[in-house]
């Protein structure tokens, strides 16, 4: 059996998700045995445009990045968006509440960047499926490395990868955590897609929703819970706009 050719690319992001792949430690060596890694700028000098599966990290800020992404789509038969930036834009969409002139001015001041393609940004930061079709999604900021391993082994075995369609609460209960609401904290766990093994509640920190909402979140029931615990919806949503800024349900 020929090994699938695999390439990794990144756009606007912190590259923390590719670090999670390195963080699989010994299992990365296993993975290298079953795929043919043809491009991964952060770890290898070699590069080829002949690949079957492309893993994309990061969101799209500029036309020059969108063009590069479209080329990748032409080359790859499967595109995997991994990490919140690629999947839904993550923190980068926080800039969408400002104009592009404002954000450029705030960061680069009056420097002359007019006409320079490096600074030619879209009005809004975009997840990659606003530019190309995405076949597989791996959410999270950062991705959960065990979920990444599971989804990759599914893809390699020809199995349709599935994300959990139940709330973080399920994992939180399995981990026997004390409910964050009982500790007086806010938590988006009840409406957020599980798969991170409830990483934040495990250390007594409320879920910030980095994995995105469930397919059909019970937002009105959640709002009632917030009210019961003395949190106004506005307060709550302001507090939890980090990852879900402007997203449906927020």
């Amino acid at each position: 059996m020929t090994k699938p050719k695999v390439a990794f690319f990144d756009f606007a992001c912190c590259e923390g998700c590719q670090l999670q792949i390195a963080n699989l430690e010994e299992a990365v060596i296993d993975l290298l045995g079953v795929v043919d890694l043809v491009s991964f700028r952060e770890v290898m000098k070699e590069h080829s445009d002949d690949y079957d599966i492309a893993f994309i990290e990061g969101c799209i800020q500029r036309p020059m990045d969108a063009e590069a992404l479209k080329k990748i789509r032409e080359n790859a038969s499967i595109i995997v968006a991994y990490g919140a930036c690629a999947v839904d834009g993550s923190v980068h969409t926080l800039r969408n509440e400002f104009t592009k002139e404002d954000v450029l001015n705030e960061v680069y001041g009056d420097a002359d960047v007019e006409g320079n393609p490096y600074w030619d940004i879209y009005d809004k930061a975009k997840p990659i499926d606003e530019v190309v079709k995405v076949d597989v999604y791996i959410p999270g900021c950062p991705i959960d490395r065990d979920e990444f391993a599971r989804i990759v082994s599914d893809v390699l075995q020809g199995k349709a990868p599935k994300l959990p369609n139940y709330a973080i609460c399920v994992e939180c209960k399995k981990n026997e955590n004390i409910c964050l609401f009982e500790l007086g904290e806010f938590c988006l766990g009840p409406i957020t897609r599980a798969g991170c093994n409830s990483a934040c509640p495990n250390v007594k920190s409320g879920c910030e929703g980095c994995r995105g909402f469930l397919d059909d979140p019970r937002t009105s029931a959640h709002k009632e819970v917030l009210e019961k615990y003395g949190v106004s919806v506005d307060e709550m949503m302001a507090a939890f706009s980090i990852f879900q800024y402007g997203k449906e349900g927020s």
């Binding site: 139940y166 209960k173 399995k174 029931a221």
Partner: protein, 631 residues
């Protein structure tokens, strides 16, 4: 009863920790709450706890449990997990003892769960009387605040001393090996009794309905407004089922290592409040509404399980009450609200007879080899399979098997060949991962088989009867195992009529066999398609399968109808049959649900209180017609 001083009790626990080879777990504090966890010293043990976040069931049915390891590099290789370490659990409260005894009936009854059994046998229980009542608990009114059984030792912390009741030989020898206890006199027994009385009167919550009356109350109040009021607020977070000591449903998943050489099949707790609990490979969700799921949880506790096993599947621990953010999970509150309505006479739920329990390791598949394949249509492929141990499958018509492909998972598939022979046949539609993978396999490839499972068609009972077969789509697959048996033993049966419908001509299955029917004068057969696309040839009827019923002659009072098809078909065909005058008890159906474990434990295939995998998939319509979730 024996007694020891408090310091002797502490040194007993410390000696266990230091000297006993078992892992010693007990109740410890976790912030403001309590959990069962490994003990480092007796000082950590908190017998004054009210309730733990999770019940001790996590030691018998672990949150995540590796059931078997498999090797993907060889054709078929599986190792069951057998290495279960010994453990002593200290501080289990009476309501949890009751819950554990219930779980034993489920997991050690009919089809024994080997892993559960091994964990149970290797675990010693040192129970403790309740010292502080949880404010969410209503165990007092459930009669579970004390328990006379289910423990190896039962301790009562009296402050200065600890009374011990020996519940088993193992418990007794543990006590004599490690503890300095002496016989208790009447005053100790009186103090224990006094403490228990104090606890019994310390409950602020109670359920006002005797648990024996729960089934009747639920039967009569299916349409009560409480269901909607509560379920509207539900977050669907699943917490209530996950913290419950009597919930035992699970999900099974395969995880392959990244080298794709090995993997594990793991089970993990699942719960009926989650939407995908009843999702099948084809995409249908059989319990879609939140209200129906909310009802299922309460009905299961108060009606389905009582009628099946004879006990109420709620021990009043109050864990679901504490875990539920919108405050809707409390079964006592539901019962107290319902009791204001009129209570009816409990109507026994018809639990059809179950198939005989499978032998041996019920969850471990047997190796088998595909000996022949035949592509039937674009989506359906036939596989002829032989078990590697040389044994015939020994199935009856209408039974199913769990097909196992390691790394991918399991899927329930109906056997479509008639009973007998060294091999058997299945016809598989490509709808999910297992079936997709199977479609890529060919003669010589190895798969795993569990089964035969479930009840089949009772070919004996049908002898001498006139039979009207009605198959829709893939329903012809399980039905074929019966009509081929009937045709092979034609003289044993009366008139035979076969009505078979599918979407369009390209989906017609078993084309060559169907052709053979043309020459037979001992059966009537008719075909139909929902629609015939332009350009395709079709000389038969066009319309849904029900449109064939008026086209054939049968005596409604002396004909048994056998109906198999997709969920939507039943409603219409059964209506047509009833209109034609066939009595309910002469209609036989085969139903599809998510049959994951196949042995009546994982909970996914339930139609109200009935396990489709165990009491079905073949049912008499009369047994099922009143179940709200059946059709």
């Amino acid at each position: 009863m024996q007694v020891m001083s408090k310091s002797d009790w502490l040194s007993f626990v410390d000696r266990l920790i230091r000297e006993d080879p078992s892992e010693i777990v007990g109740v410890k504090s976790k912030g403001p709450k309590f959990v069962f966890d490994e003990l480092d010293s007796a000082e950590e043990l908190r017998l004054d706890y009210d309730v733990t976040i999770l019940p001790p069931k996590k030691y018998f049915l672990p949150v995540y449990e590796d059931m078997m390891k498999y090797d993907l590099t060889s054709a078929f290789s599986v190792d069951k997990m057998v290495d279960i370490p010994p453990r002593i659990v200290i501080g289990v409260h009476p309501y949890d003892l009751v819950a554990m005894e219930q779980m034993d009936k489920v997991y050690l009854g009919d089809t024994t769960d080997e892993l559960y059994k091994a964990r149970r046998e290797k675990t010693l229980i040192i129970a403790s009387d309740i010292l502080n009542v949880s404010e969410d608990s209503f165990a007092g009114s459930m009669g579970t605040n004390v328990s006379g059984s289910g423990y190896d030792l039962l301790v009562t912390d009296l402050g200065d001393s600890v009374a011990v009741d020996v519940g088993s030989e193992k418990g007794g020898s543990l006590l004599s090996s490690y503890a300095n206890a002496g016989a208790a006199d009447d005053s100790v027994e009186a103090r224990v009794a006094g403490l228990r009385e104090g606890v019994a009167s310390g409950y602020s919550k109670s359920v006002d309905v005797d648990k024996a009356d729960w089934p009747g109350l639920l039967t009569n109040n299916h349409e009560h407004s409480v269901w909607e009021e509560k379920s509207d607020k539900c977050l669907e977070c699943g917490s209530c089922t996950l913290v419950c000591p009597t919930c035992y449903c699970f999900d099974v998943n395969d995880t392959a290592a990244l080298n794709l050489e090995s993997g594990v099949r793991t089970r993990t707790w699942d719960g009926c409040m989650m939407r995908d609990f009843s999702l099948v490979g084809g995409g249908e969700v059989f319990r879609e509404g939140i209200k129906e799921r909310y009802q299922h949880r309460i009905y299961r506790k108060g009606m389905y399980i009582p009628e099946r096993y004879g006990f109420t599947a709620c021990v009043g621990c109050g864990r679901c009450v504490s875990a539920c953010l919108p405050d809707i999970a409390d079964p006592s509150d539901v019962m107290n609200k319902l009791v204001t309505s009129s209570m009816g006479v409990p109507k026994p739920l018809p639990i059809p007879e179950a198939a005989p329990a499978a032998e041996g390791l019920a969850m471990v598949p047997r190796p088998a080899t595909i000996v022949r394949t035949e592509t039937m249509t674009e989506k359906e492929k036939l596989f002829e399979i032989k078990l590697d141990d040389g044994m015939p499958l020994g199935h009856g018509p209408g039974q199913f098997v769990e097909i196992s492909i390691f790394g991918v998972g399991e899927a329930p598939i109906s056997v479509s060949s008639a009973p007998g022979g060294d091999t058997f046949e299945i016809v598989v539609r490509k709808v999910g991962d297992v079936t997709g993978k199977l479609h890529g396999m060919d003669a010589g490839d190895k798969i795993g088989i569990r089964g035969p499972l479930g009840t089949g068609f009772d070919a004996e009972a049908l002898k001498g009867k006139n039979l009207l077969f009605i198959a829709g789509g893939l329903g012809v697959v399980p039905m074929r195992s019966l009509f081929n048996h009937v045709l092979r033993n034609r003289a044993d049966y009366g008139e035979v009529t076969i009505l078979y419908g599918c979407k369009d001509p390209s989906e017609l299955l078993f084309g060559s066999e169907v052709k053979d029917w043309e020459g037979r004068d001992d059966l009537v057969h008719k075909f139909t398609v929902d629609a015939c696309p332009e350009g395709e040839e079709w000389e038969h009827n066009v319309g849904v399968v029900g449109t064939l019923i008026p086209q054939v002659q049968f005596d409604p009072n002396d004909t048994t109808a056998i109906v198999v098809g997709p969920p939507i078909m039943y409603r219409f065909v059964i209506r047509d049959l009833k209109e034609a005058g066939i009595p309910d008890e002469n209609i036989i159906v085969s139903l599809e649900r998510r049959m994951e474990c196949g042995i009546g434990k994982c909970g996914h295939c339930q139609i109200n209180g009935v396990y489709v995998c165990k009491e079905g998939p073949v049912f008499n319509y009369a047994d099922m017609k009143d179940l709200p979730e059946a059709f």
